[in-house]
């Protein structure tokens, strides 16, 4: 039985470089291929945007696992997505030191600027043009420079509302 997840993406053709890099990642785990589950999930999401049904099946096949053994990771680990998020994903740290530093107001500012009024069950909101998504994440370990955010893999500290506006321009 195949694992079920909400698949909205067309089937993607995997490039030879993609497969070669996946094999390289698997080689880091000479004792157990299963250990490569998280690295392959990260790599798939970085390349294709989110974890589709195809991703679950392909990674499971690659590692000799049942698809459920991959799907149960996708549903557990907060960083993996089963739906596309924005092209630029704004993650605002929510936890105490950042709250004291104005994280809630900062998230609100992003939401307003981007006209996002609705969030999904994980608290993710996407702008109408699909360019930006905004979400809270838990402690990003830079509490001394609150509030901190990530935009995709880039990290920003002590973000004022003015800087927030500049970032929306920068990633446009």
């Amino acid at each position: 039985m195949s694992a079920t997840c909400h698949d909205t993406q067309d089937h993607v053709e995997l490039k030879p470089e993609f497969v070669a890099h996946a094999d390289e990642l698997i080689s880091h785990y000479p004792v157990s291929k299963r250990s490569a589950s998280l690295p392959l999930l990260h790599f798939w999401q970085e390349t294709h945007g989110y974890i589709s049904n195809q991703a679950v099946e392909w990674i499971a096949g690659k590692l000799g696992l049942n698809p459920i053994q991959i799907l149960e990771l996708v549903t557990f680990y907060p960083m993996f997505r089963q739906h596309p998020a924005g092209k630029f994903q704004i993650k605002v740290c929510r936890t105490l030191s950042c709250q004291l530093g104005g994280a809630y107001e900062l998230r609100e500012h992003f939401m307003k600027k981007l006209g996002i009024t609705k969030v999904d069950e994980h608290g993710l909101g996407i702008s109408a043009d699909g360019k930006f998504s905004v979400e809270f994440v838990e402690c990003l370990a830079s509490c001394g420079t609150a509030p901190v955010i990530m935009v995709n893999d880039d990290f920003y500290e002590g973000v004022s509302h003015t800087q927030a506006d500049e970032l929306l321009q920068k990633y446009n």
Partner: protein, 454 residues
Amino acid sequence: MPAPAEYRLVFKHIDEPGYTNDIECYLRHGGYEQLKKAFTMKGPDIVNEVKASGLRGRGGAGFACGVKWGFIDPTKNTKPVYLICNADESEPGTFKDRQIIHKDPHQLIEGMVIACYANNVHLSYIYIRGEFPLGAKILEKAIAEAKAKNFLGKNILGSGYDLEIYVHRGAGAYICGEETGLIESLEGKRPYPRIKPPYFPAVLGLYMCPTIVNNVETLCDVKHIIAMGGANYAKIGKPNNTGTRLIGVSGDVAKPGYYEFEVGSLTLGQLINDVCGGIKNGRKLQAVIPGGSSSKVLRAGEKYKIKEKQADGSMIDKEIGLEDIPMDFDTMAAVGSMSGSGGVIVIDDSRDIVSCLANLSEFYAHESCGQCTPCREGSLWMKKITRRLADGHGRLEDVALLKSVADNIAGRTICAMGEACSWPVQSFVAKFKNEFEAKGRAGKGPAVAATNGH
């Protein structure tokens, strides 16, 4: 008394002008010299130096590193031994390992190679939290550089010793900082912590083999122990609280940041007032969370009874205030909290203390792995109750209810997450009872439906 000067050992080159994270810069600053020195020693001798140093783990629990290593006797078991660097730094308030990973990665690699050599480890992983993508890239580059110079790989520096280190990224789950959860995660599973006994990592760890899990800072300390010798390292700090400690201060202070001090050399008051410039905007101190969000909160104006050792070895009873608490493992435990992961969160008197707890309770509810019922259900209830109190929809009975939920989690779970989520609740409610009750009394009845389905 003014605060003592910083004692920068692990942070020696952090933020030094011109210091970069590449191997050439590291080598210009004496890098990998301690590895060469370690290779002139036998593994068990290195373990003995670490034991003599008194080094206690810097991840949060403060367990003696040499003792942890001593649980593994490579001469007596036939299985391979693994070492994992815990770079999952996710305890709210903690941001020290990030500095090392980003700015001085080779210090960590050198410490790891020494630790691996000492314990006869040939395969090792750095488990880094998923939210550090740049940190993971920096470590991968550092590993490649070290390999190219033969500080890693086959027959390291002609010693006949082989070691591979790989970087393994987590994916946003706090529970992966718990060492057995981390091991499950590294095996490609959900990070459900394992029950101990029998699954002590030293016996049945990664792939059911003996495994050492050490924090980033702890492994860096190993390098300095080799440099100065265990006995000399033990002279830094205080007995049973040796060495230096990386401390991160955040929240309502004028100068938040990361610092390194001899363990116990300064008081909490000196840290807040002298080092961090005091409470910002002229406000007053309300509370301090002294060792990461799981540590029990300390309230301004509290008095603590501690025992102090005198020069002649006798013990005397002493009463001290919050600002007089020396920043060491044992005194922090004696005042009912812990120095944990070295993350100090300062809260000023303008803050709504109930909202502060609601924030932390939301964190723990999000991060409970769900394996044990008391933690899974309890953390969720604590989040809901603190949230409704904070938002003005609570009831007076909620205060006792909150305490009752917290009291029924700790000690009833597989891992320390049960304590981690209930200690903040227990301590906040006990120490700020009036504030919680006032919120309950002022409650305006139940809120209409929650907005985002949580």
